[in-house]
């Protein structure tokens, strides 16, 4: 009887621990997971582990929460427009809740598109600098916060602003239907931001 009770108690304890492990708040927000991915891409390219076009021709990042695969918590998918050769690629980078990178996988099926031909800093740095705006303002600005805590995608395109060629990082959140545009000069310096419907 005693041993059954003990086994039951251990079972309940283990189940509650697993529940807590899944429900524990992550140490980083989704926007930080995306920003860490920008650094990760740079690192993997520096180490010649992935196609360098992930750095120069990245076009999109998508952030999702991984279900029931602890310690994995976030998965960030990076899409490039063109690889060095062949078809456009994607890459999944998986992190734990504190942003520690756990794995990366290169996949086919990138969103083939025009080469924006970034002439200042590379595409990943432009995305990273757009994300810095969110990381710096997400806690204090209620309008930016949904993109800080619940970022789903960030896309990078080239555009014109007041007659000047700029990079537009466009962000979406799962908390609302708005779009945050962060405009960045081609050298990576911040220009302005706007939230649009």
């Amino acid at each position: 009887m005693k041993s059954k009770l003990l086994a039951l108690a251990i079972g309940i304890l283990a189940a509650s621990q697993m529940t807590f492990a899944q429900e524990a708040a992550p140490g980083i927000v989704k926007a930080k997971a995306a920003e860490l991915t920008a650094h990760r891409v740079d690192r993997l390219v520096s180490l010649n582990k992935i196609d360098s076009s992930f750095l120069t021709k990245a076009a999109k990042m998508e952030v999702t929460v991984v279900q029931n695969q602890a310690p994995a918590y976030y998965k960030v998918r990076v899409s490039q427009t063109q690889p060095a050769s062949g078809e456009a690629l994607q890459m999944d980078v998986v992190y734990d809740g504190n942003g520690k990178p756990l794995s990366y996988t290169v996949l086919p099926g990138g969103s083939a598109g025009p080469d924006e031909g970034w002439t200042g800093v590379d595409a990943i740095t432009l995305m990273e600098n757009g994300l810095h705006y969110v990381l710096e303002n997400g806690e204090k600005d209620a309008n930016v916060r949904p993109f800080y805590t619940a970022l789903t995608t960030i896309t990078l395109t080239k555009g014109q602003l007041n007659g000047k060629t700029i990079a537009r990082t466009q962000m979406k959140s799962s908390e609302n239907a708005l779009t945050l545009n962060v405009y960045v000069n081609l050298d990576g310096s911040f220009v302005s931001s706007e939230i649009i419907k």
Binding site: I28, L36, H39, D42, R43, S46, L47, Y95, N98, G99, K100, P101, V121, T125
Partner: protein, 224 residues
């Protein structure tokens, strides 16, 4: 007509603002800065290098391509400009200003002729120890003089701090014990592109080979 001209000129000139830039003169500065004679005789290049030039100047005035302040001959060559930019027009250092003590040392050393050796025998500080592959040595010789101006709380690169624990715990994998090739710190200081640290775009020189080697060796040995 005269009245309208007067009004136009009045409006024009009332919109101008003048401010007088006061450049301190030698006498005033000497009064403020002068050290007692018994201290002046201890001043030497070695002392100034360790107290002022290495911690405050060479991170920018190294191999970055501008004025080089890494050796005695180079410093002597630029002495007038150093005096002017630090004490007269006060444009240097651009970041991490000199403390009052550092200013006094520099002022007096220049005033007594910027000697290589101290006038009082035996008062020279010991030469700097060569950099070691330990965190303490790296922190003292690299991070503090060359990195923490930005990489510290409240400064521009506050998100990447350089305490040993931060380096080990960072999700950027800055120090992977035993694996310098994949450690972000090693990659950042060894790379030669625009993303090199310290950043070239801000005028900073690359770390020297012995500094890079010490960081690599420290991580290789386990980053203790």
């Amino acid at each position: 007509m005269k009245l309208s001209l007067f009004v136009i000129f009045f409006l024009l000139f009332s919109g101008c603002r003048y401010s007088r830039v006061t450049i301190p003169n030698n006498l005033d500065l000497n009064e403020q800065m002068s050290l007692p004679a018994e201290e002046k005789v201890k001043l030497s290049f070695n002392l100034l290098n360790q107290s002022v030039f290495i911690p405050k100047c060479v991170s920018c005035h190294g191999t970055s391509g501008g004025v080089n302040l890494e050796s005695y001959p180079e410093i002597i060559k630029n002495l007038r400009d150093i005096k002017s930019s630090v004490f007269m027009v006060q444009t240097m250092p651009k970041k991490d200003l000199l403390s009052d003590d550092q200013k006094r040392l520099l002022w007096n050393w220049i005033e007594i002729g910027a000697p290589l050796n101290a006038q009082k025998p035996g008062s020279e500080p010991p030469p700097p120890e060569p950099i070691q592959a330990t965190y303490e040595s790296i922190n003292k010789n690299i991070f503090i003089p060359k990195c923490v101006t930005c990489h510290s709380a409240g400064n521009s690169a506050w998100q990447v701090l350089l305490s040993r624990q931060e380096l080990l715990d960072s999700p950027l994998e800055l120090a992977l014990p035993g694996n310098p090739d994949e450690s972000g710190l090693v990659i950042a200081v060894e790379r030669t592109d625009k993303k090199r640290m310290p950043p070239e775009k801000d005028g900073y020189s690359a770390l020297k080979d012995d500094e890079k080697a010490a960081i690599r060796a420290w991580i290789e040995a386990g980053a203790q």
